[in-house]
């Protein structure tokens, strides 16, 4: 089994848009995760969500990889975009949609899925 660190890195590198959040898009457990998802939806993003709540190690490993202390964290094609504030700000200025168009194409799928990490 891959380590938690490897699993998180895989999601960041392989998913078009990865969102590490509290809860899932079906059951959001934090207002800031909600804000980030709303902004991503508005910009027409596909979303691969990872719930960080099942184990505190998820958040520790994630922050050690990203250097970002808070949740949520949004990545587009492996690049950290930011947390809820930046995602909202970029969505309202139109930059987020532009970034998604550039990275994923304008006719991208907008699927929402959830990845559960395997905990040892």
């Amino acid at each position: 089994m891959k380590t938690l660190n490897e699993q998180i890195s895989d999601v960041i590198e392989q998913e078009p848009v990865a969102v590490f959040m509290k809860g899932t898009p079906q059951m959001i457990m934090c207002g800031n995760s909600h804000r980030a998802l709303q902004a991503l939806h508005a910009a027409g993003a596909p979303i691969t969500a990872v719930d960080i709540l099942p184990d505190p190690r998820i958040r520790q490993e994630l922050s050690s990889i990203s250097g970002w202390p808070t949740i949520p964290q949004v990545f587009v094609r492996g690049e950290l975009i930011g947390g809820a504030d930046i995602t909202e700000e970029l969505a309202s200025s139109g930059e987020l949609q532009q970034k998604l168009d550039d990275a994923l194409g304008a006719d991208r799928a907008q699927d929402v899925k959830v990845v559960a990490l395997q905990l040892a």
Binding site: G31, N32, G67, W68, P69, T70, L80, I81, G82, G83, A84, D85, I86, E89, L90
Partner: protein, 77 residues
Amino acid sequence: MDAATIRELLEAAFPGAASVDVEDRTGGGDHFQVTVVSTAFDGLSLIDQHRRVNDALASPLADGSIHELRIRTKGTK
């Protein structure tokens, strides 16, 4: 943690900032909105601006005394 302490940390990290504003959003001393306008942000991307604020507040973020942090930053240009 009170808003004044957060403000002191930010003022120490961004000396001469055009403005530093800290709001305790819930009154509970752990949900904060911080707004910083400083020349330190000139020419930096939004994410690097936020990284600077996160760095300034690294200790209260790490020990959990800040539970939620909302950040707004602006350069002066």
